[in-house]
C-alpha cells in the first residue's frame, strides 16, 4: 500500500554560476503509517527532496523523475490540482520553523488559514478546529489569540506541527524540526511527533543530520551524500551496523555516552561535504573515505542490495550489478581488472 513512491528524482538548480545538481537519482518508497528518516549533512540534497515532493522549489529548477503521491504524479499535476494536493495530502514542517510564522498574525489565524483556503470549513469552524489542533500538540486552546513572539521556541515548533496537521494530510515531511532546540525541548517535540504519528496513522519523512534522533523515531533510515542515497535499511540495523563508511563516520559523531571506545577519541572525516556544483569523480565520497581503494576514484557505485534488507552504494561490498564508470558508460563487474592492479 504505497503512499509515496519517488523514482529516479533529479533536481538541478539554475544559478548564476551554472547548473547545480542537488539531487541525482533518488528513489523513495513509503507506505501508509511508515516513518522514514532521511539523514545527511549540508549540501546532500535532503531539504531539496522535501521541496520537490510538493513542487515548492524556485522557478526554473529542473525536476525530472516521478513523484507518485497516492497514485498521482505530483510533477505532472496541473496547478489547480497541485494546490489541492498541497497540505491536504502532504504537508511540511519547515526548517527554521520558528521563524516561519507571520509575526503580525495571531497563531490561531495562521493555523486556520490552510483549512479555509482549501474550503474545508468556514472561518469560525476553522478556528474551532485550530483550537483542537493546539490541544493535540500540547498547548491550551486559549493561546489561539497569541502572537508568535509571545511563545517560546518549543511552543512555536508545536504550532508549526499543528499547522501541518490542519488539513488531515496522510504524509508529513518534517525538515529539521528539532534543530536549534534545547535537548529537553527537542525530546518533548520528538515525543509529540511520535504520539501523533501513531494516533493518526501518519506517514512521515523525517529529515535531519542527527542520526541518533532518527534511530529513535524512524522505522527505516536512508543516508544521503552528495545528492544520492548511499545507504538504506531498517533504522536500528543501519545505526548499529552501518555498512557504508560514511554512515559509520556520521554515527561516530553522535557517540553513546558510556561507550569506552569514544572516550577521548573524537574522530571525524577529513575535508568537507562536497559542493554540489563541484563533485569528485567516481564515488563522490572517495576523497574522504577511510577505506578508499583503487576503483573508487573512477567507478560510481549505484545503490544495491548488500544484505536481505539493506542497500548501500559502496564498492567494498560484492554484488554490485553493473557498475558505472566515470565516463558514464556501463562496465560489467567481471570486466574490471582486479582491484590491486588498477593503479
Amino acid at each position: 500500500m504505497s503512499l509515496l513512491s519517488v523514482k529516479d528524482l533529479h533536481v538541478t538548480y539554475r544559478t548564476q554560476a551554472g547548473a547545480v545538481p542537488a539531487v541525482r537519482g533518488v528513489g523513495i518508497e513509503l507506505s501508509r503509517g511508515e516513518v522514514l528518516g532521511l539523514a545527511g549533512e549540508s549540501g546532500c540534497g535532503k531539504s531539496t527532496i522535501a521541496g520537490a515532493i510538493l513542487r515548492l522549489l524556485p522557478k526554473g529548477t529542473d525536476v525530472t523523475g516521478q513523484v507518485m503521491l497516492d497514485n498521482q504524479n505530483v510533477l505532472e499535476l496541473k496547478p489547480g490540482r497541485l494546490r489541492a494536493v498541497r497540505w491536504t495530502e502532504a504537508s511540511i514542517v519547515f526548517q527554521g520553523a520558528m521563524h516561519a510564522l507571520n509575526p503580525v498574525q495571531r497563531i490561531g489565524d495562521q493555523i486556520a488559514e490552510p483549512i479555509v483556503l482549501h474550503g474545508q470549513a468556514g472561518e469560525r469552524e476553522a478556528l474551532v478546529r485550530a483550537g483542537s489542533l493546539l490541544e493535540q500538540v500540547g498547548l491550551p486552546a486559549r493561546r489561539l489569540k497569541d502572537y508568535p513572539h509571545e511563545l517560546s521556541g518549543g511552543q512555536r515548533q508545536r504550532v508549526m506541527i499543528a499547522m501541518a496537521l490542519a488539513c488531515n494530510p496522510r504524509l508529513i515531511i518534517a525538515d529539521e524540526p528539532t534543530t536549534a532546540l534545547d535537548v529537553m525541548v527537542q525530546a518533548q517535540v520528538l515525543r509529540l511527533l511520535k504520539e501523533l504519528q501513531r494516533e493518526l496513522g501518519l506517514a512521515m519523512i523525517f529529515i535531519t543530520h542527527d542520526l541518533s534522533v532518527l534511530v529513535e523515531t524512524c522505522d527505516r533510515l536512508a543516508v544521503m551524500y552528495a545528492g544520492r542515497v548511499i545507504e538504506e535499511g531498517p533504522a536500528d540495523v543501519v545505526f548499529r551496523q552501518p555498512a557504508h563508511p560514511y554512515t559509520r563516520a556520521l554515527s561516530a559523531a553522535f557517540p553513546e555516552i558510556g561507550d569506552a571506545r569514544f572516550r577521548m577519541r573524537p574522530s571525524g572525516l577529513p575535508g568537507d561535504p562536497p559542493y554540489p556544483a563541484d563533485l569528485p569523480t567516481g564515488c563522490t565520497f572517495h576523497p574522504r573515505c577511510p577505506q578508499v581503494f583503487a576503483p573508487c576514484s573512477h567507478v560510481d557505485p549505484p545503490l544495491f542490495d548488500v544484505s536481505p534488507e539493506r542497500r548501500a552504494a559502496c564498492l567494498l561490498f560484492d554484488g554490485a550489478p553493473a557498475t558505472v564508470n566515470a565516463a558514464g558508460g556501463t562496465v560489467a563487474k567481471e570486466d574490471q581488472p582486479p582491484a590491486e592492479e588498477q593503479r
Binding site: 545505526f239 548499529r240 551496523q241 552501518p242 559509520r248 563516520a249 554515527s251 561516530a252 553513546e256 561507550d259 571506545r261 569514544f262 574522530s267 571525524g268 572525516l269 577529513p270 577511510p290 577505506q291
Partner: protein
C-alpha cells in the same frame, strides 16, 4: 552494538615551509588585497547602467569646472567686460544667449559650476566628518556618551534648514566659508543617526568580540573593524549628501544669502539674477533654464551613483 570504528588514515606529514613562490611582506599582502577588492567593486559598478550614466554626467561637469578658464574667459563674467547684446536669445555666437548685462549665459553656467561643486564637496566633508564622529562615538560607547551626543544630534536634526541658514548668514559675514559652514552644520545630524545605527549593529558581531578577546583597544576596534564596515554605508550616504549640499547652496544663493554675487558666480546666483530680472515671467527662458538644468543634472548624477553604489555595497539589495 556498533562495530569498531576505524580511525581514518593518518593525516599526511605537514609539508616543510620551503621556499615560498612569491616573497611578499605583510604590507604587500594588504596592498594586493585592497587592490583586488577595489577592482572587484569597480567591475561590479560597471555593470550598472544607471551608475555609469551618473558617473558620466558627473565626470562631464567636473571636467567643465576644472577646465572652465579654457572654455570661457573669466572676463566674460564681469559686467564691464561683457560685450554681448542684452537679453538676446541663443545664437551661434552666444549658444545659450545673454543675460541682462550682456554676459554669455554659457560662460556664466560654466564658471558657476566651480562654486556650486566646490561648496557642495566642502560642505559634505564637514557633514561627514562631524556626523561620522558623533555616530561612531555614540554608537560604540553607549551610555551617557551616547545619550548626550544623540540629544545634540536630535536638536540639529529638528532645526529647519532655512531659518537657521538665514539667521547664520545675518550673524556671520556673508562669504563662501559661511555658506559652507551653514550647509555643513545643518546636514550632519542625519549622517550621525545613520552611522550610529550601523555601529550598534556591528558592535554585536562576533568578529568584534573576537578582536576584544584578542586584547584590542577601543581605538583598534573602532578603526579596524567598525569603521571599515561602516565605510561603504557612509560612502553611499555621502554621495547623496553632496547632491543635497549643492541644492542647498543653490537655494542659499538664490535667496541672496550667499557671498557677494557679483564676484562669486554660482548656479544659484544666476538663478537669482534671472528670477530677479523677471526671466521666469517674460520669454527669456535661456537665462533661467541652463543653470536650473545644470543643478538638476548634477544632483541626478549623484543620486544615480548613490543608487548604484547602494546596490553593490548592500548585499541584501542585490538582485538574485
Amino acid at each position: 552494538m556498533k562495530p569498531t570504528i576505524e580511525r581514518p588514515a593518518p593525516a599526511p606529514e605537514p609539508e616543510p615551509l620551503g621556499p615560498l613562490p612569491i616573497p611578499k611582506s605583510a604590507k604587500a599582502i594588504a596592498r594586493t588585497r585592497r587592490k583586488e577588492a577595489a577592482l572587484r567593486t569597480w567591475r561590479q559598478y560597471r555593470k550598472s547602467k544607471m551608475g555609469m550614466a551618473g558617473l558620466g554626467i558627473l565626470v562631464f561637469f567636473v571636467l567643465v569646472a576644472i577646465f572652465a578658464p579654457l572654455l570661457a574667459s573669466r572676463c566674460e563674467l564681469s559686467p564691464t567686460c561683457a560685450s554681448g547684446p542684452i537679453l538676446s536669445p541663443p545664437s551661434w555666437q552666444y549658444p545659450l544667449g545673454t543675460d541682462d548685462l550682456g554676459r554669455s549665459v554659457l560662460a556664466l553656467t560654466i564658471w558657476g559650476s566651480r562654486i556650486s561643486i566646490i561648496v557642495g564637496l566642502a560642505a559634505t566633508l564637514i557633514t561627514v566628518v562631524i556626523g561620522t564622529s558623533f555616530g561612531l562615538v555614540a554608537g560604540y560607547y553607549g551610555g551617557w556618551r551616547e545619550s548626550g551626543l544623540m540629544r545634540i544630534t536630535d536638536w540639529f536634526l529638528v532645526i529647519p534648514f532655512l531659518p537657521l541658514a538665514i539667521v547664520l548668514s545675518v550673524i556671520l559675514e556673508p562669504s563662501l566659508t559661511t555658506v559652507i559652514l551653514v550647509i555643513g552644520i545643518t546636514s550632519w545630524a542625519s549622517t550621525a543617526r545613520v552611522v550610529r545605527a550601523q555601529v550598534l549593529s556591528l558592535k554585536t558581531r562576533t568578529y568584534v568580540e573576537r578582536a576584544r578577546a584578542l586584547g584590542a583597544s577601543h581605538w583598534h576596534l573602532m578603526s579596524r573593524h567598525i569603521l571599515p564596515n561602516v565605510g561603504p554605508l557612509i560612502f553611499a550616504n555621502t554621495v547623496l549628501i553632496v547632491a543635497v549640499a549643492i541644492l542647498s547652496e543653490t537655494t542659499l544663493s538664490f535667496l541672496n544669502l550667499g557671498p557677494d554675487p557679483t564676484t562669486n558666480i554660482s548656479w544659484g546666483t544666476i538663478l537669482e539674477f534671472a528670477f530677479g530680472g523677471g526671466a521666469a515671467f517674460s520669454n527669456n527662458w535661456w537665462w533661467i533654464v541652463p543653470p536650473g538644468v545644470a543643478v538638476v543634472l548634477v544632483v541626478l548624477a549623484f543620486t544615480m551613483i548613490g543608487y548604484a553604489l547602494d546596490e553593490i555595497l548592500n548585499p541584501k539589495l542585490r538582485a538574485r
